[in-house]
Amino acid sequence: MNTQIAGTDAPQAQRSALAAQARRQGIQNSRWLLVPAIAAVGLLFVLPLTRMLQLSLFDPGFTLKHYMEFLGSTTYLRVMLNTVLLALNVTLICLLLGYPAAYAINSTSPRTRRLFLIPVMLPYLTSLMVRTYAWMVLLGAHGLVNGFFSLFGLGPYQLINNSLGVYIGMVHVLLPLMILPICNTMQSIDLRLVQAAEGLGATRGQAFVRVFAPLSLPGVVAGSCLVFIIALGFFVTPALLGALENMTVSMLIENQVGVALNWAFAAAIGMVLLLATMATLAIATLVLKGVGRTMAFGGVRLIGSV
């Protein structure tokens, strides 16, 4: 990149050498900018997690009894199963609702797109407690939803303190996390490909299924992965909107730490949850890699192209 600047005396070769040197130095020095962040994450994240692992395995000597207690109890395994099923269902619902929403948002012009993203960003930015409390108000026997039904002589229905309430609350919180990655991916899809397919004789439906949808897959995987993982660890919403039988693993953990004071046991359950999370992430990354390899364009990897 040679920029001829009028009025300078230094010869061009020297100038570009300086620029190249600055660039190299910049690259050399830049990596040290990561040190503070790495130190912070190391001390305040990796260290506590390691200590948690230690807590779960040493009580005081090495023991697997807490893991055995959790994995060996039908009650607790049921809680784990319920949690996984809940997360899967929520992810599916978010996908079914979020994909059309992302598609519609994406099909507008960039200007209106920002407008349409407000109803997505605003809930996302609003406090989780406020959102969950709003649902507690809306779904009650005399809440707004039942009030609406009563206008038609229907209801009142049991919408809260059961699985339905938990699903509604969780889907509401997690939808933005599904919509945003999908929308992001869709934005970078080259529409000329779709147009080309249609030009070659494909119907709109075919063009969508065979060209557009596969190109949007990385966003779908990223969104689903994110939603699933966060749903797995959900705590506030099931606690406030659910019944006894809707207990999730994270509620169990909170109970063990805050009420029963079984730190070691809680740590063991936490490690199991963490492993489930990492497994999900690993699977998603593999899927994405496979998807990325077979796609020439439009791929956005989960961690981003670094």
Binding site: T75, N82, A141, H142, N161, A243, L244, E245, A260
Partner: protein, 361 residues
Amino acid sequence: MGTGITRRDALKTIVAGAGALAAPAIVRGQASIKGTGEVRVASLGGSFEDAQNKGVFEPFEKESGIKVKIIAYTGPSQVVAQERTGNIEWDCILMSKAAMLSLNKQGYLEKIDYDRIDKKDLGGLPQGMAHPYGVPNILFSRGICYNTKAIPVADHPKTWAEVWDTKKFPGQRSLGAFSGSLTPDLEFALLADGVPIDKLYPLDIDRAFKSLDGIRPSVAKFWTTGAMSPQMLTDGQISCGSAYINRIGDLIASGAPVAYEWNQGEIQNNYWCILKGAKNYDNAMKLMAFATSPVAQAGFSTYTLMGPANSHAFELLSKDRAAMLPSAPENLKKQFIYDDEWWAANRDAVQKRWDQWAISK
């Protein structure tokens, strides 16, 4: 029979009670409770805390000059957590006897210096109730409560068997769950199943859970804090269930369509305790001495339907107000006393059983 208390009645007795207190009452040993600094008290929030404020803490602050600082209390596990980490943030709490026994077993409470409490007040406490690590202070009831819009006062459930009868009294219920120091309504389940009220303890756990199975489909939510069932009753989510009668009393006074029934109610005692290593032991003892005095006891019982432990407090309460309290003779004889010792011994086993039962539907 004094079962459905109308709003006017409640207001009348509160005014009468306040009138009784307006007469100058000398706090015994007043000079000895003066001090400086603060005392940190954990309280349960809501109308309970309001009553504590008006009846006990504010008068105490005036008399002693010690500031009372209130923090939210959700269970004895918070105490354990503080003791374990050496981070003692509270000085004293009013807690259930079961919680006190359990915490004391682990050595987390300070010994009470009974010399600092007025001898006459101690004499007013029921025989054998005073404990080396806790001063008995109030008693309150958990019992049948219902929504007056869904169930008329004239024909309301008077026994737990009737609460279990969803045909006669349609609508949803709410019963207590395990949470912190709160124990589930196994006693009520047994009463509903026909166990005589004087033969409740030791509890037949299997029978209790079987009885709960019967009512579970109609239970909207098992409440985990004292505020929940009154809330559900007030907004009509449930037609009847178990709740703390003092909270229902407070709601009635503010016009909510709710009412309660003393029959087959459960009486519990709460004790003032001081945490081991509490910073303000002296101030805490002063607060407890004051809280045991008739003025504070009567004051507290004026603002909420909880009975004083100190019988001398009845001298300061109007007859009408006294008749509304759980410890009034006519009310007392219909209820049973919660067995803290049994629960302290069997809690863990029941908890495991409860977890199993809760998750399976």
